[in-house]
């Protein structure tokens, strides 16, 4: 099984995020992390490789900072790191990121692709599906259980749907997007970390994968601003006698929420 895992770098949503004065960008001073959903993708790829052999290729696309997120994956057992790094990628929308990915991936033989279900930056969840569409391979999104049948070149996957789950079947090669709960993450080993430190990243730019800026399709939307969510919370914190507190809460339910 040759598996490709697509990785995205996202701001750590646990950190303080502030908007620049111009209201268009974030103040740059926040920590970046690997998209949490992508961790499940890496882990799943490594497990499949451990069972059936093959190799795991990590790919990330972006203008900067991709090195760190690739390294962690190698430290836990992935094999190859590919980084498409180009200043032109700054601010590119998901559909066009998928185009870049598909251009790179069509030069690499693979049996399956794993993406995160969505990036925790904008929660879009577009790149995986768009990539499957561009490569014209089956797509199963938000997978919580994955069973590969290498002989039959088939996969069975369980994905969550409203009010339950469904089990689906598809031929390989296919693209799966990973949901939390798919697996338990492992920690890197020291030898893995050392291997990752030594291993060289395969760095590509847009030109080297044959994409010119005019290959990109129109992005039919434009950011006009960032703002903080309006929270009109009353913010009343009651203390003391439980009965009194509960009475107030029930009045709130009756008069404000109007639910009783």
């Amino acid at each position: 099984m040759n598996i490709i895992v697509c990785l995205k770098r996202v701001p750590d949503t646990g950190a303080r995020l502030e908007i620049e004065k111009d209201g268009m960008e974030l103040k740059p001073d926040f920590p970046w992390i690997l998209n949490p959903y992508d961790e499940f993708a890496i882990e799943e790829a490594i497990r499949i490789k451990e069972r059936f052999g093959g190799n795991v290729t990590l790919i990330t696309v972006g203008p900067e900072g991709g090195e760190e997120i690739l390294k962690r994956g190698v430290a836990t057992g992935a094999d190859v790191e590919v980084y498409v790094k180009d200043p032109l990628l700054q601010g590119l929308d998901e559909i066009n990121i998928a185009k870049v990915l598909s251009a790179v991936i069509s030069t690499i033989p693979f049996d399956m692709i794993l993406c995160g279900k969505q990036g925790t930056d904008s929660d879009s969840g577009v790149v995986g599906g768009a990539l499957a569409g561009l490569l014209d391979i089956p797509l199963v999104s938000a997978v919580k259980r994955l069973n590969i049948l290498p002989e039959e070149r088939q996969a069975h996957a369980l994905r969550e749907v409203e009010g339950g789950a469904e089990v689906v079947e598809c031929p390989l090669p296919a693209l799966f997007t990973t949901h939390k709960g798919l697996n338990e993450l492992r920690y890197p080993t020291l030898s893995g970390i050392m291997r990752a430190k030594k291993q060289e990243i395969r760095c590509l730019d847009l030109k080297s994968i044959g994409i010119a800026a005019n290959h990109f399709s129109n992005r039919n939307f434009r950011r006009v601003g960032l703002s903080y969510p309006l929270l009109n919370r009353r913010g009343i914190i009651l203390k003391g006698d439980i009965k009194r507190q509960v009475q107030e809460a029930v009045t709130f339910l009756k008069d404000e929420v109007r639910i009783l």
């Binding site: 949503t13 559909i95 199963v140």
Partner: protein, 326 residues
């Protein structure tokens, strides 16, 4: 034309279908565009009755292979359908179906793709849409400058008013084969009576403070007294007390109920990311400094096992009195 893709839930249209029509109206209105609803699958006639006055046209695209959702099946049929039609926007519910379909369809129709939209506004003849970023810590406003597939967050839009006129019902026969589906559903697992937390009006959520799986009984009781469902923090899910399907937060679900009651949840940013858009929030926590109180309309400081039984008692009393009335 503004298009809306409908979704069914059991024998009815999913609530998010109405919400998508609401979003569609907001887009269609100022530009005097028509609004059309697409319903895929067989036997939609009955279902379409409830929305006849909410759209200008209703297309029933029929084929037995469309009775359950498949990404490539839907994509193929819609690609064919839209061949000779103009699209200003195609609105798709942000559900497990819509999130799967939106990117596939965007690529095949050559449109931009915007997901997770929570608001639409028209300013100086430009459509502005809003979506939350970074777990809801920031809101992004985007100006729409061309056609796009837009998926909307459930419970973010209001159902549109019914118009005077009935929409026109148009039947389309689709062509589809088994091979087109690529991904074949082989089994559907329904949790008994489990409804979807993203679609609930009231959620009673529990965290590590609930202490164990048994602790959730009392939350269930409160939820049912309020006609809602229970949900959980990752703390409670990781402890194995609840399933991940009920997890609210960054790596769970984003919910926007009318009322969210957080019980024994500290209020980590990753949890807040999932519930910030709730209309009203009540927090019950015994730690007066718990960050969840900063996100609450009303905070109750105390042990949830003392507080909740009292609340249930009060609610039952009120309901009892109401029911007692003629």
């Amino acid at each position: 034309m503004i298009w809306v893709l409908g979704e069914t839930r059991g024998d009815a249209l999913a609530p998010v279908t109405y919400e998508a029509l609401g979003a569609g109206r907001l887009l269609a209105g100022p530009f005097k565009r028509g609004l059309s609803l697409l319903l895929l699958g067989e036997g939609m006639d009955d279902l379409s009755k409830g929305v006849l006055k909410k759209a200008d046209r209703i297309y029933l695209i029929e084929h037995k292979l469309l009775n359950s959702y498949t990404g490539y099946g839907y994509k193929k049929v819609l690609e064919e359908f839209f061949k000779d039609k103009d699209i200003s926007a195609l609105i798709i519910p942000g559900t497990s179906m819509g999130r799967d379909l939106a990117p596939l369809l965007s690529v095949s129709l050559g449109l931009s793709c915007l997901t997770n939209i929570t608001g639409v506004e028209v300013i100086n003849n430009t459509v502005h849409v809003k979506r939350p970023l970074y777990g809801g810590k920031i809101v992004e406003t985007l100006a729409l400058e061309g056609s796009a597939v837009i998926s909307i967050m459930p419970r973010s839009f209001k159902e549109p008013e019914a118009s005077e006129r009935q929409g026109e019902l148009i039947r389309v026969e689709a062509r589809l084969t088994e091979e087109d589906l690529r991904v074949r559903p082989i089994e559907v697992l329904r949790e008994i009576e489990r409804r979807e937390i993203t679609e609930a009006e009231v959620l009673v959520a529990g965290g590590r403070g609930v202490g164990g799986p048994e602790g959730f009984h009392i939350l269930e009781e409160l939820a049912s007294a309020l006609g809602g469902l229970t949900a959980a923090s990752r703390g409670a899910v990781d402890a194995g007390w609840r399933t991940h399907a009920s997890q609210v937060g960054q790596t769970g679900k984003v919910v926007s109920p009318k009322l969210y009651i957080a019980c024994g949840i500290s209020g980590a940013p990753q949890h807040i990311a999932g519930m910030r858009t709730s209309r009203y929030v009540i927090a019950i926590n015994k730690d007066p400094n718990a960050p969840i109180f900063r996100e609450a309309d009303l905070g109750i400081t105390g042990d949830l096992f003392e507080v909740i039984p009292e609340v249930i008692k009060e609610i039952r009393e009120i309901k009892g009195i109401q029911e007692g009335k003629p």
